[in-house]
């Protein structure tokens, strides 16, 4: 009985020791830094602020980390600048609960150290040397990409709250007490609600530097073997611009889950910081490793199989991609004329425009006309099959007729242009030939048509639609014929 009581006491004691409430300001730093408006402009003209938003800090990624875990040497006031320096690789007093190992970002720093960004600052960071870093260091420091953002991203807050409510009933059944829930429950659940950043935000970190073309031109690169320094290639300078033209970049811009981010291809493993040059054999983007990299997560799984290596030869940063333009708003694209695609398509576009205009004009002017258009070979067909004279001979004969005075004959019958009659008149009357009207005929003829008396003097003249009367083989009708 005594032993059980003793064990229970020890358990309670250890629970309290591990999961007690944490205070982010055990050293009283916020006594001063909590004041709003602790601003000044330093000797370099940089606007500085010593204010710490206590509410934001408490709900931030480092909310449970006391100030002195990072700013370790601060012992006096005014603070010596060197005493405020932060080393992101140092271990802090947050402990991993199962084994009590102190937490540290050093594993990430070790990865960074192998990457092309190895020279980025990870220690000696102060508020006062940001300008120096900007002006002297081309590689990114920890803080260039990371800041002390909220522990739960705003976009995930509702999802987290929902999960946390659930945890209070499920987890809280055993893990009673707000301290445990606050310290561990929240931490575990945060991981469950998903990634903090989406691919667009991930890419933005890279693009904020690599998208600055002028800044990239100023980058100095070093040959791995000879250590010779040289300016970057144009392919490197334009890497962000070319990427955005690829399907990977465009899918991510469209907020699709299928797009591959910069990190997905350049640092797919580990802590996602080991970005190596593509010439490095250990690089995920080295040609020998592309099969594995492209095939990760079943993105392009077939690239892992022999015979499919050709797929990986597609250059995702080819300069030729820069010529591709978004055609969503082509007229707003200032560089459109630089695009071979646009210049190549221009003749087709002009022809299309001409065709469209011509079609519209035809539709407006001639849509009611029904013309018999002489097809290729039509003349020969008529000569061979029905023994008609050749076109030239007919034209000659017509000219000869014009020289004679036509004999006016009134039609014996005038049929009103009723629909039925019109329907009849639609049938071609191959042999019916009307003579060309002369001015005198046009004036005198009322409800009559002038016909060639040599052949069709007795034939009924039927009011015909204009399409027939104006056909190639049919002379013009009087303007009054439809009255």
């Amino acid at each position: 009985m005594i032993r059980s009581f003793f064990l229970l006491f020890i358990c309670l004691l250890s629970f309290n020791a591990d999961a007690g409430p944490r205070y982010s300001d055990p050293d009283g730093c916020l006594s001063c830094h909590v004041y709003e408006g602790l601003n000044f402009i330093d000797e370099n003209g940089v606007f500085r602020s010593a204010t710490i938003d206590s509410e934001h800090y408490a709900s931030s990624l480092h909310g449970s980390v006391p100030c002195k875990d990072c700013h370790r040497e601060v012992i006096d006031y005014p603070h010596k600048v060197e005493n405020t320096e932060v080393d992101c690789g140092a271990s802090c007093h947050i402990e991993e609960p199962s084994e009590g190992v102190k937490y540290s970002h050093d594993v990430i720093h070790e990865e960074m150290d192998k990457s092309v960004h190895a020279d980025g600052w990870y220690k000696g960071l102060t508020g006062g040397n940001r300008l120096e870093e900007v002006e002297t260091e081309q590689d990114p420091s920890c803080r260039r990409c990371h800041s002390n953002t909220a522990y739960i991203a705003e976009a995930q807050l509702e999802k987290f709250k929902e999960a946390f409510d659930h945890a209070e009933t499920e987890c809280g059944n055993c893990h009673q007490g707000k301290a445990w829930m606050g310290q561990f429950g929240g931490h575990i659940l945060r991981r469950f609600v998903g990634r903090r950043w989406n691919n667009i935000e991930n890419n933005q970190l890279c693009i904020q530097c690599h998208g600055d073309i002028e800044a990239m031109r100023d980058v100095t690169q070093e040959d791995k073997e000879t250590h010779e320094k040289h300016p970057p290639s144009e392919r490197f300078v334009q890497s962000s611009a070319s990427y955005t033209k690829t399907l990977h970049g465009r899918l991510i811009d469209a907020n699709s889950d299928f797009g591959a981010s910069c990190i997905d291809c350049h640092a797919p493993e580990g802590w996602k910081h080991e970005i190596r040059a593509y010439t490095d054999e250990k690089s995920a983007s080295h040609p020998d490793n592309l099969g594995e990299s492209c095939g990760q997560s079943n993105c392009h799984g077939y690239t892992k199989k022999p015979g499919n290596e050709g797929f990986t030869m597609t250059d995702m940063h080819s300069l030729s991609l820069l010529g591709l333009h978004s055609m969503e708003k082509p007229l707003e694209d200032a560089d459109l004329w630089q695009s071979n695609w646009f210049r190549g398509a221009l003749p087709l576009m002009l022809a299309g425009i001409a065709l469209a205009i011509g079609s519209l004009a035809w539709w407006i002017l001639y849509r009611t006309d029904k013309k018999i258009i002489a097809k290729f070979g039509g003349d020969r067909f008529e000569r061979v099959m029905i023994g008609r004279k050749p076109k030239k001979a007919r034209a000659k004969a017509a000219t000869a007729k014009k020289t004679r005075v036509p004999k006016k004959v009134e039609a014996t019958t005038v049929v009103d242009a009723a629909p039925e009659a019109t329907a009849k008149a639609d049938t071609p009357i191959a042999e019916a030939k009307t003579t060309p009207t002369t001015p005198s005929v046009e004036k005198s003829a009322e409800s009559t048509a002038v016909v060639d008396t040599e052949k069709e003097a007795t034939e009924t003249v039927v009011k015909k639609p204009a399409s027939i009367s104006e056909s190639a083989e049919t002379p013009k009708k009087s303007d009054d014929s439809e009255s």
Binding site: S31, G37, N39, I41, G45, T51, Y77, R130, S147
Partner: protein
């Protein structure tokens, strides 16, 4: 009846603006400068180097930080001085700049010995006095009951300002004198600038009062109770730990170990 009242109101409003030439501007106009003052002023002008203010850098601050105080833009002083203005003293600059949120420049730097000024809240946007009340203080009036409201946001544009004969003594950017000074600074000669600079600065005290002037109950440079503070707020102001900590400094360059003091 209403017609008369309207006329009286209109004349009152006009007289306020017509006669609103503050004491500070009167002092500027009445000051007779010595040769030494003008020479020192010219020396300062020639020594001056413009500072290019870099508010945003590619490397952002790691912590979420404070914002620039918009009310400072209404002060004539920030037309030449930086905003926030205090830069020299490593120990006090941030705290003095913090006070610029609710204390006008002239409150600390215009302290004529032969004139009795009284201090009131003023809306810097229009120069109108604001009625004293406890809500204007950063320290919440009922913090004991609501600890979460211990610290609250300030009203950005209300500041404690010296008044003389019902007129605020401050020099506003909209004043003709300030605008003329701005024009002179663009087109004037160094000698003209030196005279203008001296006439502006001679009525002022370069160094403001010590913290204890307000944060010590026995000194009371500002009567915080008259400014609207209740007993709780007044007690917090008089017993401010930072003011007490700063009282330990014997000279500007000394450093004091802070551990255990601020806990």
């Amino acid at each position: 009846m209403y017609y008369r009242l309207f006329i009286i109101g209109l004349l009152s409003a006009m007289s306020y603006h017509v006669m609103a030439e503050g004491l500070y501007l009167q002092e500027i106009n009445n000051t007779v400068l010595t040769e030494q003052q003008i020479n020192e002023s010219k020396e300062k002008i020639l020594e001056h180097k413009d500072v290019e203010v870099r508010e945003k850098l590619n490397v952002a601050p790691f912590h979420q930080r404070g914002q620039l105080n918009a009310s400072l833009e209404y002060s004539t002083c920030t037309g030449c001085h930086l905003s926030p203005p205090h830069t020299k003293s490593e120990r006090t600059r941030t705290f003095m700049n913090m006070h610029t949120q609710f204390i006008a420049c002239e409150t600390c730097h215009f302290r004529p010995k032969d004139k009795q000024l009284n201090y009131q809240w003023e809306d810097v946007r229009d120069g109108m006095p604001v009625k004293a009340k406890s809500k204007l203080f950063r320290q919440a009036a009922n913090a004991e009951e609501k600890p979460q409201e211990r610290v609250k946001a300030l009203h950005s544009f209300y500041k404690v300002t010296p008044f003389y004969q019902a007129n605020a003594v401050v020099l506003r950017k909209s004043d003709e004198f300030a605008q003329e000074t701005a024009r002179l600074w663009k087109a004037g000669t160094d000698d003209e600038k030196a005279i203008r600079r001296a006439s502006i600065h001679v009525p002022l005290e370069e160094k403001g009062p010590e913290c204890s002037a307000c944060h010590d109950k026995d000194e009371q440079f500002l009567d915080v109770t008259a400014l609207g503070a209740n007993n709780y707020q007044a007690d917090k102001i008089y017993n401010n730990i930072i003011a007490q900590f700063f009282a330990r400094y014997k000279d500007e360059d000394s450093r004091i170990r802070i551990m255990r003091i601020l806990k």
